[in-house]
């Protein structure tokens, strides 16, 4: 069985752009915004699960990055540094909306039981084709929304955005074992929940 191939990150003249932006070149910073605004929006919406909050996160994360460029030591990639800012902004908004629930990246589930596979029916060969594009997005959105914020944050960074385990740990201030543990549980919980939509239905037409 093959492995998951990471998303290829474009080779970059990023250092040049970052240095120019640090020197106050706004058009260089605009290039960085263009390069990463889609990623920041996707991450923000995965975490906050709210469109308005995601828009605010994009604006505030880039503004904060611009204001703090002088403090960016370039020990990590600019993108990893930006993701760290965006994740913090997103979690802050989530806490504001759900003050009754403590939202923290350290939040953990006590037992492994929540991730033990119960559904072991195989899926249809091309499960995404069982639904229209709109239906599929609704299913995926609803499913990931049910995950604890700490799990969906790790999942979106590793599996959707293609950050390495080390970059994810760096962006979230988590240890590598903590990233791996959350990622495993996020993947297994999503798989479990998606099984009811995608499993092979012998003799049926595959639809609900």
């Amino acid at each position: 069985m093959g492995t998951i191939q990471p998303r290829v990150i474009e080779p970059s003249d990023e250092t040049v752009l970052v240095h120019a932006a640090k020197a106050g070149d706004i058009s260089a910073f605009e290039e960085l915004v263009k390069r990463y605004d889609r990623n920041v929006f996707r991450i923000a919406q995965h975490i906050t699960q709210n469109r308005e909050d995601a828009e605010d996160v994009v604006q505030d994360a880039f503004l904060k990055a611009f204001q703090n460029l002088a403090n960016f030591q370039e020990q990590s990639k600019f993108y990893t540094w930006l993701v760290r800012i965006a994740v913090n902004e997103a979690l802050m908004r989530l806490r504001r909306r759900r003050p009754e629930r403590m939202v923290s990246l350290d939040e953990d589930i006590k037992t492994e039981e929540d991730s033990m596979p119960r559904e072991v029916a195989d899926w249809a060969p091309n499960p995404e084709q069982l639904y229209t594009q709109g239906e599929l997005k609704e299913i995926l959105g609803k499913t990931i929304q049910g995950l604890p914020p700490s799990f969906r944050t790790v999942f979106v960074l590793r599996d959707v955005e293609g950050l390495s385990t080390e970059e994810t740990a760096d962006a979230l201030d988590l240890s590598i074992p903590a990233v791996k543990s959350r990622l495993l549980r996020a993947r297994l919980q999503l798989r479990e929940r998606l099984s009811k939509y995608f499993k092979n239905r012998t003799g049926g037409d595959g639809k609900k």
Partner: protein, 82 residues
Amino acid sequence: MTCSDFLQELTDYLDGAMDAQTHAELEDHLQWCHNCYVVCNTTKMTIEIYRDSQLYELPEDLRGRLRAAILSKCQGHGSEGQ
């Protein structure tokens, strides 16, 4: 190797981040354990479906508005590094 051992290694297996010997042991387990085969295969599909889904894409009109707002705020505030 038990199914529980397999599950613990699943993330590293899917990411191709393991030594050759452990990889061979996992492949061997998959040969005879149908449940782990299904879990592994459908977990891989889960990741691929999310990666390819274009869930939460930023619409172009909103993208333009956000970029204009960001740049205007940046010009207004200035970088502390300047």
